[in-house]
């Protein structure tokens, strides 16, 4: 029954423990292209389904650029572009430059962190195959789902479904991307 439009095999669970177990099982069986969906973060899944976390790096770069922009802007404007004697203070009065340096650093770091999440998760992505599965609506409220994607080399509709049924899910479906 599997065909070109198939996206993957999905099992529904009503309990984090079962989900984690299931994920671990499937991984043991050699499945790699899998993804777990839960209404709240479950730490244990991160070991089972590993993913590289770029967010901190991006955030750091953002912050760094913020500081550089801020300082060079302040120095250029106050000391080079139009050097004006303000209250007898030196043109390059660095202590007064610190607050803005800090603020811009935080600003850019924060923004880059936020957009990193969107970018990495491929957002916006309002159309997603699993949404075809009516039960999947509960994924954001109370239920958890485990999905073996068809792109997995050892994916086989019947076999995968069989394995999954052994993990006492609420149900198992093959979802097509139509």
């Amino acid at each position: 029954m599997s065909d070109a439009s198939t996206y993957g095999m999905v099992a529904e669970f009503d309990d984090p423990t079962k989900l984690v177990e299931a994920a671990r099982e499937m991984r043991k069986l050699g499945y790699r292209k899998m993804e777990a969906y839960s209404p709240y973060p479950i730490k244990d899944l991160h070991e089972i389904i590993p993913v590289i976390n770029w967010v901190p790096a991006i955030c750091f770069l953002g912050g760094l650029s913020g500081s550089i922009i801020a300082w060079s802007m302040e120095y250029y404007i106050a000391a080079i572009d139009y050097p004006i004697n303000v209250g007898g203070r030196p043109l390059y009065s660095w202590p007064s430059f610190i607050p803005i340096l800090f603020e811009l650093t935080v600003l850019l770091a924060g923004c880059s962190a936020f957009f990193a999440v969107l970018g990495l998760s491929g957002f916006p992505r309002v159309h997603f195959p699993l949404f075809n599965l009516p039960q999947f609506a509960d994924a954001t409220s109370s239920r958890m789902f485990l999905c073996i994607e068809k792109t997995d080399p050892i994916y086989d509709s019947d076999l995968t479904a069989k394995f999954m049924r052994e993990l006492e899910p609420v149900g198992v479906w093959e979802v097509s991307d139509e």
Binding site: Y82, P124, R125, V126, H127, F131, N132, L133, P134, F136, A137
Partner: protein, 216 residues
């Protein structure tokens, strides 16, 4: 069917996001370009005048010295616009009957001034002094452009503060010998910078960038 969005929605959504982000940038840039545009500074726009007075003819053609009409340019902050009498000095003989000059004669008869439209107009909080600039060897041309090529006069330079500061910060680039001040189409020497510096010391030119030099 719980799939609330067509597959294409993803692409559209992203496009919209990037477009809106982009448009902000575009608008900002446009605004910036506009305020620097000749439109904003009303540059290069020949201005309608009650009498189609041609500097091209009088200066370029007849070679009349600027100071013949703008008499106070060397002595006063204000370079005056010639009184009707000055026009009549010549035009009581030349073109004495030409209809285009009727307003001049009319003004001279009635004693009511000719209403010229101002071409080079600084904001009222800016205090510019002609005499000192002329005295320090800044050519008429530097600010007013090739007046001798203007059939109807227009504003040749943006007259923005940035533009003023350009020269105030680097007078050596623009200063010329005093005797060349009224020259039109003055050719700066190839070594202008050093000539300029020499003139600066000779004419005691400082680079004045204090606010109260122009704003009081």
């Amino acid at each position: 069917m719980p799939q609330y969005f067509a597959r294409s929605a993803n692409t559209i959504y992203r496009l919209v996001l990037f477009a809106s982000a982009g448009s902000v940038v575009v608008v900002a840039c446009l605004g910036y370009l506009i305020v620097r545009s000749p439109y904003e500074s009303m540059q290069n726009v020949p201005r309608e005048q009650p009498i189609p007075f041609s500097h091209e003819h009088h200066v370029g053609g007849l070679g009349i010295d600027c100071r013949y009409c703008h008499t106070t340019v060397e002595t006063s902050a204000f370079a005056n616009v010639p009184p009707t009498k000055v026009c009549m000095n010549c035009h009581s003989q030349m073109w004495a009957t030409s209809p285009t000059l009727e307003p001049v004669r009319e003004s001279y008869r009635s004693g009511r001034s000719i209403e010229w439209t101002r071409v080079n107009d600084l904001p009222d909080f800016v205090y510019f002094n002609h005499s000192i600039h002329v005295h320090k060897g800044i050519g008429c041309e530097t600010c007013h452009g090739r007046v001798d090529k203007m059939p109807l006069t227009w504003q040749a330079q943006p007259l923005t503060m940035e533009w003023c500061l350009n020269c105030h910060r680097h007078p050596e680039r623009y200063v010329r010998p005093r005797d060349q001040v009224v020259t039109m189409g003055y050719k700066y020497p190839p070594n202008q910078l050093e000539v300029g510096r020499k003139l600066m010391t000779e004419y005691h030119i400082q680079s004045l960038t204090s606010c109260s030099n122009c704003h009081r």
